[in-house]
Amino acid sequence: MSKFEILKKEEFVPNFYKLDIAVPGIAKKAKAGQFILVMVDKQSEKIPLTILDWDEEKGTISFIVQELGLSTSKMAFMEEGDSFYSIVGPLGEPAYLENFGTVVLGGGCYGVGAVFPIAKGLKALGNYVITIIEAKNENLLYYEEEYKTVSDEVILVTTDGSKGERGHIYDVLDNMIEVQKRKIDHIKVIGCNVMMSKVSKLTKEKGAIPTYATVTTIMVDGTGMCGSCRLSYDGKTKFACVDGPEFDAHKIDWDELIHVRNTSYITEETLGLQNFSPECRSLAKYQERTKEEEAS
């Protein structure tokens, strides 16, 4: 087991990979809601990823990564036995957990995985946990069975209604508050910024139910030096890496985060893919086959 080695890699739904990595140091100290910074190779950027699960005894951590850019593409091309160049963590403040009463957890996209340790923690503290997981379609839903073990209710919601309810997390929440008149003490959401901003807007209108969101920002060093993860929070500037990543959703300036901060490097991100050529496996496959033919 070498340093930062991939012990297990699995694509459980299209584009979503779960990686198990050997990092005993992080496994010892990780807490729910914290993240790590991963560098794939020497020239690669650093990208923040929420820790999904950790095993202190085995010294392993796991995280979910969605393939959506250059670095995550490189990860998708890595195989079991390959090693990362560097992993830093655990970083950020742990999620705010206590016995709230009834808690609603919302997860979308990669957030479906990221919300898992929080659900686990909240359940252990004696909360009544309702988990809502969202996906575009049935084939992109995952972790349904796992959530049943850590929450009292699991609600599925898909964009096209192929499984569970049709719509989005905020539609389900709206229904719970308006129609079912359920009492919700605390809400936590993880997913894309757009979804979180919409949940935040809804809960603010419906009597300011405490809502916490784990923001997704661009991050470079993860220790509060570069400032690329900054966001406007309650009129002040906060750094997602050291002050967060979990914030009170009602105080975040979502428009700035979505339209200004997270689109700053679109040009570089896209041009970065222009000369990306993963190791060509068709050559390897071809050589393998000719060898087999020769042998037979």
């Binding site: 959506l68 000369n275 050559l283």
Partner: protein, 536 residues
């Protein structure tokens, strides 16, 4: 005598042999279709172009139905639209189309700035083809808000083992445009419909890689694909280009017309003009290598002069300094000691200026290749002005002064005293003489990096600095006029097999191309075809 038929109550003229779809399109009547394309043979796969023909029992496809004298046709009756919607929903059931029926569809268009750029496509929001998708156009035309059928994701693996191409057949709607472009138009048959029934997919024979299947990577399958199933790696995810410029490829003398898509003032994609897209074969270099070649981060941006401060190396200077330094130095040599070397990939304007410059400063004839450089050496040339780099310069005997004009840093920059940054053909205007006395226009698409200048402008400035006459032009038009009125130029031709541009091996600057060449060589070698000949 012209023939007439009736479409939607309009009398429309047609010629013998035209299909109803062609007649309607010519008359400006829209009939939705996903599989028909003017440059491909008719196929009748999507069934969206059905029409109501008076007297017919069923709704025939307009793309395969030849027009007849006196035919009465309607293209959009309520009944037809209902059938069309149903047919289209069946197509959508096998295409990840959740975004089309999503409630947040309109809002999503505003906020998604393209953060999803890789991997399998799991909805329009992650699709590289989003801005130019024909499926989305038709769904808007038919106002699809609901899909009655359960959606089926085929869950096929993403095929990205081949260089340049990424294929995600989960998006494929089996319109067979790519197959028709490959087989019927270009005659390669690298791909075909494989398997039967529900498992039908586009693939190669016995599922070998495209490198072995006889694919030449001309990229036409990508150009004709109505979905995002086929994408060119490195040329996608940019969305709608800011502008598209039609120009001529200058990597060889073939003179292929190409459209350069520009976004954020960078070359992001190169493809044939729509009307030519399936009729002319492009080579892998022209179709895929240009963006990476042009956008290299290590392009030369400023003129440099070799100086010894701590150690002897190239130091950036202003253009004025570089020009006057070069002019002074060249003046100190006798005309028989100066040799001019012209790269075959220069524009006609640059070749003209360089020839004119050579006539005035040198008595040696102009050379175009390494052989010529050796002959210059044997004539006792001491100062060289070159427009391409070559390993040969580091071995030259009696070299006293070398002016290099280049686009990238190379081994020659070490022996050169002055290095002048120049433009690639996408960054300048001009003319290019190709094969068979054809002249093509080269049009500027993007700004050059840093302070790089076109060759002709550089040498005009050097000549002016040397107080030579006849080198002051106010615009390139003036220069073009002068060329028109002078003796025809002797423009060297570049073979299609040439793998260099201005002395820069393409394989060095384009990772994917290196992959392509090495793999092809390995395959050739193991099949006993020898190592050298990689056909492009």
């Amino acid at each position: 005598m012209s023939k007439w038929m009736n479409i939607n109550g309009r009398r429309v003229v047609f010629e013998e042999g035209e299909t109803v779809l062609e007649v309607a399109t010519k008359a400006g009547i829209y009939i939705p279709t996903l599989c028909a394309r003017p440059d491909l043979p008719s196929f009748g796969a999507c069934r969206l172009c059905i029409i109501d023909v008076e007297g017919a029992r069923t709704y025939p496809n307009s793309c395969t139905l030849p027009a007849r004298e006196g035919m009465v046709v309607r293209t959009a009756t309520p009944d037809l639209q209902a059938v069309r919607r149903n047919v289209f929903q069946l197509i959508l059931a096998e295409h990840p189309s959740y975004c089309i029926i999503c409630k947040e569809h309109d809002e999503c268009e505003k906020v998604r700035h393209g953060e999803y750029k890789a991997g399998r496509v799991i909805g329009c929001f992650t699709c590289s083809n989003k801005e130019i998708c024909e499926i989305r156009e038709i769904s808007e035309y038919l106002r699809i808000k609901e899909i009655r059928y359960p959606m089926l994701y085929k869950n096929l693996p993403l095929e990205r083992d081949d260089p340049f191409l990424v294929r995600d057949y989960n998006l494929c709607i089996l319109c067979a445009r790519c197959i028709r472009a490959c087989q019927d138009v270009l005659g390669y048959s690298a791909i075909d419909l494989t398997k039967r029934g529900h498992d039908t997919k586009v693939g190669t024979i016995s599922e070998v890689s495209h490198l072995e299947s006889g694919c030449v990577f001309c990229g036409h399958c990508i150009d004709v694909c109505p979905t995002g199933a086929l994408i060119a790696r490195g040329s996608t995810w940019f969305g709608k280009p800011d502008k598209s410029v039609t120009t001529t490829c200058n990597l060889c003398s073939h003179g292929c017309q190409m459209v350069i898509d520009v976004k954020w003032d960078k070359v992001v994609n190169v493809h044939p003009p729509y009307e030519l897209s399936a009729r002319r074969e492009y080579c892998v270099k022209g179709r895929f290598c240009i963006p990476a070649l042009v956008n290299g981060r290590d392009r030369l941006k400023y003129p440099t002069i070799k100086r010894k401060l701590i150690k002897e190396e190239q130091h950036p200077v202003s253009w004025d300094e570089a020009i006057s330094y070069t002019a002074e130095k060249l003046k100190s040599f006798k005309p028989e000691e100066i040799g001019i070397i012209i790269a075959p990939s220069l524009t006609d304007e640059s070749v003209f200026i360089l020839s004119k410059f050579a006539q005035k400063v040198s008595t040696n004839s102009i050379v175009y290749d390494e052989e010529g450089i050796m002959s210059l050496q044997s004539q006792g040339v001491k100062a060289y002005v070159t427009t391409f780099n070559s390993k040969i310069f580091s071995k030259l005997e009696g070299l006293e002064f070398l002016v290099l004009q280049d686009i990238y840093e190379s081994i020659t920059s070490e022996s050169a005293e002055v290095v002048l940054p120049t433009t690639v053909f996408t960054e300048e205007d001009g003319t290019k003489s190709g094969e068979e006395y054809m002249r093509y226009s080269i049009n500027k698409a993007v700004e050059p990096p840093g302070e790089a200048l076109p060759s002709w402008a550089i040498f005009c400035r050097i000549a002016q600095s040397m107080e030579l006459e006849g080198f002051s032009y106010n615009s390139i038009e003036e220069l073009k006029d002068e060329i028109m009125n002078s003796e025809p130029l002797d423009i060297p031709k570049i073979s299609k097999q040439n793998l260099e541009y201005m002395g820069i091996p393409l394989t060095e600057k384009v990772e994917e191309f290196r992959l392509y060449i090495t793999t092809k060589r390995a395959i050739n070698q193991s099949e006993g075809k020898g190592e050298v000949d990689v056909q492009i």
